[in-house]
Amino acid sequence: MESTQLTIQLAYVAAAALFIYGLKLLGSADSARKGNLLSSVGMLLAIVAALLDQGIVEYQWILLGFVVGGAIGAAAARLVQMTAMPEMVALFNGFGGMASLLVGAAALSGSSNTFTLVTIVLSILIGGLTFTGSLVAWGKLSETLGSGAVMFRGQQIVNSLIVLAILFSAVMFCLQPENSIWLYAVIALSLLFGVMAVIPIGGADMPVVISLLNSYSGLAACAAGFAVNNNILIVAGSLVGASGIILTQIMCKAMNRSLSNVLFSGFGSVSSEETVIEGEIKPISVEDAYYILEAATNVAIIPGYGMAVAQAQHVVKELTQLLEKKGAEVNFGIHPVAGRMPGHMNVLLAEADVPYDQLLEMDDINPRMETVDVAIVIGANDVVNPAAREVESSPIYGMPVINVDQARTVFVLKRSMASGFAGIENPLFYKENTRMLFGDAKESISGLIRELSN
């Protein structure tokens, strides 16, 4: 290997190292910006190295591409509104996919070895579906398209047909690379499939989809790398592919859904129109609770007798401090009959040095409940029982309770599904926005603290 070539390759290694280190730094708020910078330096290095390649005889087209693409990218990045960032990411991602598709297609002219053909078809396929998929995601997020899930009868069949068609054309393409009909077919079908795959997914799930498509665009780059026989594409592509998949998984977890549920929930739901969403218990793990809590800016804590039993007052205090340090507003809602003696909660919270002005009476916290992101019910039961409002036959009907169910999300920390002092069922536990964090309250909260302080 000659020395230029070697230099180029070593530059690629360095670029890859910069990408990796950049990604690592992106993982923590303090260093993220530096990480992004490092990663972009890596990219610059890779580009410069690529330009040194002897295969390159003309620079004008490259330059033109740079200027046009760079200008568009820079302008878009500068002009986009803060709130529109996620869809912008989707769009950029789509362009990355498109680039892979084009590279794949361009590489075709050179080679006809089967392995290369397979990688070409992969880069086209993945690139194409990333492109249109990202466009649809962008449309949904920016409300250019409706953000709802688009579903129609027979969707499953149509999609299956497309997949079959893709498979068929891809195989045919590898067998008859000279017949460009197959190439076009693959391109068209992959573009179509990108659209079909994303339209049935609701706007709320789009971040997961974008993350997944991002991972795909990495894989597309990887495939393109094989097609044009370029190391850095393969390494960087597989890195992005791998971390994208993992990020997707984490995001799913944070949303408390499985990936397949996100991707395919749309497909199935048309056929089962009649099923009414009946309440069901939704347990949550400490980690998942953490992900939700982490993003909350307004938290209400509703302690009850269980906090006293678990002697969790000190950790509760620490939790509030951590949340406040992260910029959240935290209040306590104290129901007058919480606990087992008048002022039970006051005794404990004073012991833990919770400032008096953080303790709100029921009548003060209830009107604010709708603005609360997460209401954390710590070992309280009767005092947050919406049956007191809703179920006329309930023995506590008419008693004012803390309306935690009106908060965006409710965590209920208790050990089991057992009822409280009054011995009555609590419909709160079955509400759509309720998550049960089972276990001793002190341990659950310690767990949250651990996650939060990482």
């Binding site: 990480g35 991602n93 590279v103």
Partner: protein, 93 residues
């Protein structure tokens, strides 16, 4: 042999990706995604060699287009990520 090396690389990348990404706090998911997205614009490197082959054939044009598309991804991606992160900093300080 190349395939073997590449498989090694892929395997290592997956492990590394996993180690890097797990435990990233949710607030950073979006910038992280966006940053990774910018990296996936690495296709530009592949596109460059095609766009500069000087043959003025189909591949050349496709390559040039690919350069343009990938550049959008790269330039836009890094800038957007940076803007997002700058916002973070402000909230923190």
């Amino acid at each position: 042999m190349e395939v073997v090396f590449l498989t090694f690389i892929l395997m290592l990348s997956i492990f590394l990706g996993f180690e890097l990404i797990t435990k990233v706090p949710a607030t950073l998911h979006t910038p992280l995604m966006s940053g990774a997205n910018a990296i996936s614009g690495i296709t530009v490197v592949g596109a460059i060699s095609l766009a500069g082959n000087g043959q003025h054939d189909m591949a050349n044009w496709l390559g040039a287009a690919a350069v343009a598309f990938a550049s959008i991804n790269v330039v836009g991606g890094y800038l957007v990520t940076d803007r997002m992160l700058a916002m973070f900093k402000k909230r923190g300080s």
